[in-house]
């Protein structure tokens, strides 16, 4: 991956977005701007607050019930401009390198370029030497890094990460955070969710706090943690239950 120029798919703007599934309102009246700044935007909030749904909607994977989402003023996110890492990524039944090669092929990368790109991406996520290992036999942290490499195969302008360190030990989580910093430094806009407030402080340029499908607060991470504006934010930062 090379350093990319500022992307035209940003900002991602949510205007009064609601998403309802099976009569359950998952997102309600979300108006939000995911800015074009280089620092990651981090979504926080309790379970069921709508973080995953917001990420999927921002990736264009699920339609909105009400409102609209635009990407740099466009109505759709071009498929090759965004990539998403799911909370529990599925490893295709092939080798680690085979998984990356598959993603490169799906992204339309010419066959002759795939070997070099595969090696480059596996090196970026620290999996050099494990190319031939069956992907499903990698550890949880390695699988998460492989899924990141697969997502990066699209050379995305925006990378959505859904709790990428949720089930990882501190060392594996730290490795993922290093990769997030590395791809951010290359100009990829990262939008991620996490339950780890320490991680949010370490990575976020901007924070979005959600609760029960509604936007509670968003703004710069420094301000959010220093001077939260809402009672819900103060409660959440204090580590107490949001009810």
């Amino acid at each position: 991956m090379s350093m990319r120029s500022p992307t035209s798919e940003l900002p991602v703007i949510f205007t009064d977005v609601a998403i309802v599934a099976a009569d359950v309102t998952i997102l309600d009246g979300i108006s939000l701007v995911l800015p074009g700044s280089s620092a990651p935007t981090v979504l926080i909030g309790p379970n069921g607050s709508g973080k995953t749904t917001l990420l999927r909607a921002a990736m264009g994977l699920i339609p909105v019930t009400r409102g609209r989402i635009t990407w740099g003023g466009r109505e759709t996110l071009p498929p090759d401009r965004g990539a998403i890492l799911f909370q529990r990524p599925v490893m295709l039944r092939r080798s680690a390198a085979g998984n990356v090669r598959y993603a490169l092929a799906a992204a339309g990368v010419p066959r002759v370029a795939r070997s070099e790109r595969t090696a480059e991406l596996l090196a970026l996520v620290g999996l050099t030497g494990l190319e031939r290992r069956p992907a499903r036999k990698l550890s949880g942290g390695e699988q998460q890094r492989l899924a990141l490499a697969r997502a990066l195969a699209r050379d995305p302008a925006i990378l959505f990460l859904d709790e990428p360190t949720a089930s990882l030990d501190p060392a594996a989580a730290n490795a993922i955070e290093d990769i997030v910093r590395a791809v951010t430094a290359r100009g990829v806009k990262v939008v991620m969710s996490t339950h780890d407030l320490g991680q949010a402080k370490r990575l976020a340029g901007e924070i979005v706090l959600l609760h029960r499908g509604r936007l509670i607060e968003n703004g710069s991470a420094a301000e959010f943690f220093a001077k939260p504006r809402t009672q819900e934010a103060r409660t959440f930062i204090a580590g107490e239950l949001l009810v």
Partner: protein
């Protein structure tokens, strides 16, 4: 007891008639499984992924076809290939090709139905990832078939089991002609009716042994594949 000895003598002395029958049986059954897989796996995968009105009815019908009575299929093929039938000019009746056609029709629904279930289960697992990678419909089907390949071995084995054990259809369309369309199952039926039990028992032993061997080989291939591919 003497019957058993005669049966094993036929097997271990390499009786040419016995081995001709075994060879034809394997050719017919494996060919039928091959053609049924060519039809059934893509059809099952498409049925797993494509949504259309009446799809559930098609699935129920396909599942019901797994229980197709062989004699009915044999009769239908017989009428189709007989001299006065629509394909009578092909001259296929009472040939191994007719037997392959009949068994393909019997086996294809089994492979298609099992492939549909296997691919649909994998699709639930893969759907989000493939959607996120913007994988097109054709590549999705190819990916799911490839990644389900070890599970699909079970579908092929079920199809082979049906073909290898089948007698009703092939005896109608093949005619059980000695040295030409006689297979293990039709020979067993004939020799039993004639009271010549040694050959019948010998063929039965060979048939069961072959089925076990093929299942064991497939199982070993599946385990090895899973070990190396994950």
């Amino acid at each position: 007891m003497s019957t058993d000895v005669s049966a094993f003598q036929l097997v271990f002395t390499g009786d040419p008639a016995l081995f001709a029958i075994v060879r034809l049986s394997l050719i017919v059954s494996l060919s039928a499984v091959f053609f049924a897989a060519l039809i059934g796996i893509p059809a099952g995968a498409m049925l797993a992924l494509v949504r259309f009105p009446g799809r559930e009815g098609v699935i129920v019908f396909l599942n019901a076809l797994m229980g197709l009575p062989p004699v009915v299929v044999g009769l239908a093929i017989f009428l189709t290939l007989s001299r006065s039938g629509p394909l009578g000019q092909w001259g296929l009746l009472f040939t191994p090709q007719a037997m392959v056609i009949a068994q393909t029709i019997l086996v294809a629904p089994i492979i298609a139905a099992l492939a549909r279930q296997t691919v649909e289960d994998l699709w639930v697992e893969y759907r989000d990832e493939l959607a996120a990678m913007n994988v097109g419909a054709g590549r999705r089907i190819a990916t799911l078939i490839w990644d389900a390949r070890f599970s699909l071995v079970t579908a092929l084995l079920a199809g082979f089991g049906r073909a290898a054990a089948e007698v009703g259809a092939i005896i109608i369309v093949g005619g059980n002609i000695d040295g030409f369309t006689r297979t293990m199952t039709t020979a067993i039926a004939l020799e039993t009716s004639k009271g010549d039990l040694p050959l019948a028992v010998g063929l039965g032993v060979v048939l069961i042994t072959i089925v076990i061997l093929i299942n064991a080989l497939a199982w070993a291939a599946r385990r090895a594949g899973e070990h190396y591919a994950g």
